[in-house]
């Protein structure tokens, strides 16, 4: 049981008369890339919102490293190490790239007012560490040269990468990406899939992924959950899912 990093069982989410998520279960194991796919409006993002604490699920259980987290507020869940991105880029557009990464490290910084006012050595050290970590991740996503630019002036693909870097500086255990490849060109998509693989292999983290780009999903996923109209449709390795007749009918389409 506890070998699962994230354990979602019987998740229900009801908005008035609409049952948006109906009894969804999924297990994310450590160092795994787990994808959630399904047609538009199937409830994938709602599942994400429930896990990350932006919605309070109406039923079911969510455990992260064995600890129940359903109903916690979003910022507490992210402090536990479950960090997400959004379907639409949500950067702090008027701040510089490096500052976007510093805001994300708020809890690592010394936020003691007195220390900040007189710049104690420990305050400076933390600040320097945060800078170094930010620079390290900018290097990883290949944005180092843009460090002092305003985030809003980056190209769309760069903003997507910056968003991932911003999650990574918080040192998460599970990274949740909501359609990270949306709007990227094929070259950027392939760079993204290398980046995600590298995160799994080098950083020892798990990735929970919502994506429509089947090439990306089938290529890098260790495990796939298919959701259709709020209910789980299939679950398995990419090969199993690809051959599942229900999935082909509902989503992949006959070829």
């Amino acid at each position: 049981m506890s070998e699962n990093l994230l354990d979602v069982s019987g998740l229900m989410m009801r908005f008035g008369g609409l049952l948006a998520v109906d009894n969804v279960s999924l297990q994310v194991k450590p160092r795994q890339i787990h994808s959630v796919i399904g047609p538009n409006g199937a409830g994938k993002t709602t599942v994400f919102n429930c896990i990350s604490g932006f919605y309070k699920p109406t039923g079911g259980e969510i455990r992260y490293r064995g600890q129940p987290i359903q109903g916690m507020t979003g910022h507490r869940i992210s402090l536990l190490g479950l960090v997400r991105t959004f379907q639409h880029v949500r950067l702090f557009a008027n701040m510089t790239v490096i500052e976007n990464l510093l805001v994300a490290q708020h809890r690592h910084l010394n936020t003691n007012y007195f220390a900040g006012l007189v710049k104690t050595p420990s305050y400076r050290r933390r600040q320097r560490e945060a800078m170094d970590r930010a620079a390290h991740w900018l290097q990883q996503v290949d944005l180092l040269e843009f460090a002092n630019r305003e985030a809003g002036n980056l190209s769309y693909g760069q903003q997507r990468r910056l968003e991932i870097a911003r999650c990574m500086v918080t040192e998460p255990g599970l990274l949740m990406l909501d359609e990270p490849a949306a709007g990227l060109n094929p070259k950027e998509t392939s760079e993204l899939d290398q980046l995600i693989l590298r995160l799994r292999d080098e950083q020892d983290i798990s990735v929970l992924l919502i994506e429509h780009d089947m090439g990306l999903v089938m290529g890098i996923s260790d495990h796939i959950t298919v959701i259709n109209q709020g209910a789980p449709l299939a679950d398995g390795t990419p090969d199993q899912v690809r051959q599942n007749p229900d999935v082909i009918k509902a989503y992949l389409g006959e070829s």
Partner: protein, 418 residues
């Protein structure tokens, strides 16, 4: 032109109708009866003139606005020397200003120093509110409540327990901060307009409480005879109180009442410098960045583990504490306070200072505070038109520089590539 004709006629008609009713006719009492009296010929000719002006303005509005667009809007940044020179001159300029602030009261009249002290109080209030409105983006219409808390803290503690100004100053700041925290906790989940309404209500609650809690606060009569600050125990009065010593006796100089005024001014300068330093540091601290991030995207902040409530609360508390310091000093300077000094119009003036200065910009707020306190003094003859000028200035500002005198440019940390 054809299309503008009808609106122009309409506007002229409305103007005519309104001026006729407002100044064209007058009710006069003759014994028990009221009679309607028409205005004299001169007034009528003025009314006719006004109607024609309105008509012509409406008729030629489009060509006029096109002409206005061709006028260059004032560009303040163009007047300043270039970036590098400015960076080098900056510390010298700051030093010059600080030295000037300490020297000039000895050369000017007592009234001018007094006015400067008042201005400095508004600078402090403006800077404090700037944290809440400018940095954190929370519209607070009841800021004066914290100012009142600070002022009454000193007045009451001094009256009932005989505590000195220097002891009360931190207490006033802390107490105002506590009030900010207590108010902020339940209301900060509200946004924008709702927050503004609740803070407006809070401001009124405090004022009405002070007005009606007669046996403690003295109600509308206020509290008088508040002790003035002392310089390490040296008093600035003509005669020392029991066991005390006066400033002029200690230094063996003759008594001069302007010593006290200058001393109060210097205390205000110190307080303002301290405020500026603290706010400058805070802007560069993680919390300053968090405020800006929260203003831009609250959801993203939550997903990164920043607690929005705590961060907003810190802005609210900090802003309130500066109002508390300002209030404490205000009470010491006036020697008398009453709920009259803490009406909504004060909140409005402080907010106007922040908006005029350019939300979030420190220098802008300081300049605006100076303008807002000194201009009414210079134009004393136009006292009755003060609010009119006030409104006029606001409208002009919003047309010409909606971002304020000096819009905010938060200092960004830079990554130095080795």
């Amino acid at each position: 032109m054809q299309r503008a004709l009808f609106p122009a006629l309409f506007a002229a008609g409305v103007t005519f109708l309104l001026t006729c009713l407002v100044i064209g006719v007058r009710l006069e009492q003759e014994g028990p009866n009221l009679t309607v009296v028409g205005a004299d010929a001169e007034t009528w000719s003025w009314i006719g003139f006004a109607v024609i002006v309105v008509f012509l303005f409406q008729l030629f509005q489009q060509p006029l606005s096109r002409l206005k667009q061709r006028l260059p809007s004032p560009d303040v940044t163009g007047l300043l020397p270039d970036h590098k020179l400015r960076a080098r001159l900056r510390p010298w300029l700051i030093a010059l200003v600080v030295v000037g602030l300490f020297v000039w009261p000895f050369m000017v009249s007592r009234g001018a120093v007094d006015l400067a002290t008042l201005t400095l109080i508004y600078v402090m209030l403006g800077l404090g509110l700037n944290i809440v409105v400018g940095f954190a983006g929370l519209l607070d219409l009841g800021y004066v409540a914290f100012y009142a808390v600070g002022a009454y803290t000193y007045a009451l503690l001094s009256e009932y327990y005989g505590l000195s100004f220097w002891v009360c100053l931190p207490i006033a700041g802390l107490l105002a901060a506590t009030f900010g925290c207590i108010l902020g906790f339940p209301v900060l989940r509200l946004r924008g307009d709702y927050l503004a309404i609740v803070t407006l209500g809070f401001g009124e609650i405090i004022r009405i409480l002070l007005n009606n809690w007669t046996n403690v606060t003295g109600g509308p009569n206020g509290i008088g005879g508040i002790e003035k600050p002392s310089l390490f125990g040296l008093e600035f009065s003509r005669r020392a109180s029991e066991g005390g010593q006066t400033f002029h006796e200690f230094f063996g100089i003759s008594y001069n009442s302007s010593h006290k005024v200058i001393f109060l001014y210097l205390v205000a300068v110190l307080l303002v410098l301290l405020t500026i330093y603290v706010i400058n540091r805070i802007q560069r601290m993680p919390i300053g960045r968090a405020w800006e991030a929260l203003r831009e995207d609250e959801i993203a902040c939550r997903s990164l583990g920043l607690n929005p409530t705590v961060i907003k609360l810190s802005a609210f508390t900090m802003g309130a504490s500066f109002a508390g310091f300002a209030g404490c000093f205000f009470a010491a300077r006036q020697g008398f306070i009453s709920p009259e000094s803490f009406t909504f119009i004060e909140s409005a003036i402080i907010l106007a200072i922040v908006v005029l200065g350019g939300m979030g910009s420190q220098l802008g707020v300081i300049l605006a505070a100076i303008a807002m306190t000194i201009l009414p003094e210079l134009a004393r003859e136009f006292q009755e038109y003060r609010m009119l000028m006030f409104g006029g200035v606001m409208v002009l500002m919003m047309l010409w520089r909606p971002q304020g005198l000096l819009p905010m440019k938060r200092p960004h940390l830079e990554l130095k590539t080795s």
